[in-house]
C-alpha cells in the first residue's frame, strides 16, 4: 500500500514504518495467543499423563481395593459408557421430536418462545440438575422402576431388586438426558430449519402429508447432522460429573448391568468427584489416571462427531 508510493514525503515514511511495526506487533501477538492455546491443550495432556502414569504402580488400598489401576478404571469406564448410552437412547426421540415441533409443527408465535426456553435451559448449572434429580425425580421414578421390574424383570437391565431411594444409574441417565437435551435440540433445530424450502414444497405439491414431507425431504437432508448432534450430546453426557455424582448412590467400581437396583456401576467423572475429597498420595494419581481415560474417550467421541459433521457439510 504505502510502499507502492514512489517518493514518499518524510512524515509518510515514518507513518509507514510505524504501521509496519504495528502490524508486526499485532500479528505476532495474535499468533502468540493462538500458540498459547495449542500449548494449553498440550499442557492438559502432558500434565495428566505425567501425574497419571505413577498410578500404574498402584495396587490394593491405593487402587481403591483393586489389584491394579486397570481393574479400577475398567468398571468405571463401563459405567460411564452405559449411563451415557442410556441417556442418548432417552434423548434421541425427545430431541428429534422437540426440534421438529419447533421447526415444523408449532405455529411461529409458539415456536420462538419455546426455542428461547430451550436455550435458557442449556444454561442451568449441572449442580442444580443434580439437586432436582435427587429431590424431585428420584422418588417419582421408584414406582416406575417397580413396574419395570415386575413386567420386564427378565431383561438383565431391570433385574432388581429395586432401589428404594430411586438413586440409580437409570435416574442418573434420565438427568443426563435432560442436560443433553437442550444442546442436541438446538443443533437439530438449526439443521432442520436449513432444509431447502424447495425440497419441502416439492414434496407437499406432490400431495405428501406433513409427516411424509418430513420423511422424504427433511430427515434425509439432516441425516449426518443428526448423527453429529447425537455424538456431540454423547460427548457431553460422558464427561458430565456433578449430576451423576449427586444422583447416583454408587457402590464403587463394579460392573453391573442392573440399572434400577441400589448396586450401581459408577462413572469415571462422578467417582473422581466423590473420592477426591479424601484422597491422598498415590490415590490422587489414580484419580488423575482415570481422568486421562475419560479425556481420551470423550476426545474420540467428539472427534467422530466433528468428522461426521464436516463430511455432511461437504455432501450437503
Amino acid at each position: 500500500m504505502t510502499t507502492a508510493i514512489q517518493d514518499p514525503a518524510p512524515d509518510q515514511q515514518v507513518r509507514a514504518r510505524t504501521s509496519r511495526v504495528g502490524d508486526a506487533v499485532f500479528s505476532r501477538t495474535a499468533l502468540g495467543a493462538a500458540l498459547l492455546v495449542v500449548a494449553l491443550l498440550a499442557g492438559v495432556a502432558i500434565f495428566l499423563v505425567v501425574q497419571g502414569l505413577p498410578a500404574l504402580e498402584a495396587t490394593g488400598e491405593q487402587a481403591y481395593g483393586k489389584p491394579s489401576v486397570w481393574a479400577y478404571v475398567g468398571p468405571l469406564l463401563f459405567g460411564t459408557v452405559l449411563s451415557a448410552l442410556l441417556a442418548m437412547i432417552i434423548v434421541t426421540p425427545l430431541a428429534i421430536g422437540l426440534a421438529l415441533v419447533i421447526s415444523h409443527y408449532a405455529p411461529r408465535r409458539l415456536a420462538k418462545p419455546v426455542g428461547y426456553l430451550v436455550d435458557l435451559l442449556a444454561a442451568v448449572p449441572s449442580v442444580v440438575f443434580g439437586l432436582w434429580g435427587i429431590a424431585v425425580l428420584a422418588p417419582r421414578l421408584v414406582p416406575v422402576y417397580d413396574w419395570l421390574n415386575v413386567w420386564f424383570g427378565w431383561i438383565p437391565l431391570f433385574g432388581g431388586p429395586v432401589s428404594s431411594s430411586g438413586r440409580t444409574l437409570l435416574t442418573a441417565a434420565v438427568v443426563l438426558a435432560l442436560m443433553a437435551l437442550p444442546i442436541v435440540t438446538a443443533i437439530l433445530r438449526e439443521i432442520f430449519a436449513q432444509t431447502p424450502t424447495t425440497h419441502q414444497e416439492a414434496a407437499l405439491a406432490l400431495g405428501a402429508t406433513r409427516w411424509e414431507m418430513i420423511r422424504l425431504a427433511v430427515l434425509p437432508y439432516a441425516r449426518s447432522g443428526i448423527v453429529a448432534a447425537l455424538l456431540l450430546g454423547l460427548g457431553r453426557a460422558l464427561g458430565e460429573t456433578m449430576a451423576v455424582a449427586m444422583v447416583l448412590s454408587a457402590t464403587g467400581a463394579i460392573i453391573s448391568f442392573d440399572v434400577i437396583s441400589s448396586a450401581n456401576s459408577n462413572t469415571i467423572a462422578a467417582s473422581i468427584a466423590n473420592n477426591y475429597a479424601n484422597a491422598a498420595g498415590l490415590k490422587i494419581n489414580v484419580l488423575i489416571f482415570a481422568g486421562l481415560g475419560l479425556f481420551v474417550l470423550t476426545f474420540v467421541v467428539n472427534f467422530l462427531g466433528r468428522w461426521v459433521a464436516t463430511r455432511g457439510q461437504v455432501k450437503g
Binding site: 495467543a33 498459547l36 491443550l41 426421540p93 425427545l94 426456553l117 444454561a123 442444580v128 409427516w211 464427561g239
Partner: protein, 362 residues
Amino acid sequence: MKTMIDTDIHPVDRLEPITGGTLPRIAPALVGVCSVALGALGLLLGLGLVGAVVVTWLAFSLALYGWTRAIEGSRQATDSFVRTLMWTAFVLAMVPLVSLIWTVVARGAPVLTPAFLNDDMSGRALLGVGGGIYHAIMGTFMITAIAAVIAVPVGLLTAVYLVEYGKGNRLAKIITFLVDVMTGIPSIVAGLFAVALFIVITGDPLPRLGIGGSIALAVLMLPTVIRSVEEMLKLVPDDLREASYALGVPRWRTIVKVVLPTAVAGIVTGITLAIARVAGETAPLLLILGTARVANWNPFNGPVQTLPVYIFQSLGQTTHFKYGEIWTDRVWGAALFLIIIVMSLNLVARLVGKAFAPKTGR
C-alpha cells in the same frame, strides 16, 4: 335403463370425488375432551395420576388414528399419529424442565433474604442456624472474573489470528481442530489439569488456591470464546476491510478500528454466554478450591468457596438429624441465586446481541 345411458354420456358423475372426506376442524379437540373425560373416570376408579394420563394419551392417539383412518385414509391417519407423537415428545421434554425451574423457585425463594445473602458460614462447621452465602457469591464472582481476564484476551486474539491472519493456512487448520478438541474436554478433566499443574508448581500434594480454579475455568471458556468470536468475525463483510485498506489504513488498525467494532455485539454476546456457562461449573472447582467458610479475596493462597461447590458440599449435610433442614434450605437458596446469576447473564447476552445487532447481519 335411462340412468345407464346417462352414465355413458356423463362418466364424470360416477367418478370418485377428487377431494376425500375430511374430519371436521374440531375433531382433535373433540377426541381430546372425550379422552380427558375417560382419564378422569380412570382417576376416579383409582388408577393414579400417571395411569390416568397414560389412559388419556392412549385413548386420544388411538381414537384420532382410527377416526382419521376411517374418514381420510391410512396416510392421513399416520400423519396425525406422528403429529401426536411429536407433541408428546415436546410435552415430555418440557415437563421436567418446567418442574426443575418451579421446584428451585418455590423452595429457594423463601430462603433468599438479605440476611442470607450478606452472611457467611464462619463458625458454623456443621451445626448452628443462620449463615449465608456471601462468601460463596464473592468467590464465584472472583474466580469467574479472573477466568474471564485470562480467557477473553487470549480467545479474542486467537480468533483474530484464525480469521484475519491464518485464513486457511496449515497452522490455522491445526488450531481450529485443537479448539474443537478443547470444546469436548470434560469439566472434571480441566480440574484435574489444574491440580496436576499446581502440584508441580507449588510442590504441595493437595493444592488449594483460587487461581487454579480460574485456570481450569479458563480452559473450559477458551474454546467457546474462540468459536463465537470466530463466527462473528467471519460475518464482517470483506468490503469493509478492503475499503479500509484502500484508504491506506494498516492491517492492524483495520482490525482494531473497523472489524472488531462491526462485530462487537456478537462478540460481547458470545463472551457473556461463555462466562455464564462457566459460572455454574462445579466439578473442576471442587477439586482445586477446597472448602472455605468466609470470603477469601486472595486467589493465590488458601481455599475459596463458590456457589456451585457450596451447594454440592452442603448437600452432604442435609441428612443431619437436627440441622438437616437448615442445610436443605441453604442448598435451595444457593441454587436459586446461582440460577438467577446465570440466567441474568444469559438475558444480558441476548439483549446486547439484539440491541447492537449489525445491520449487515443475517
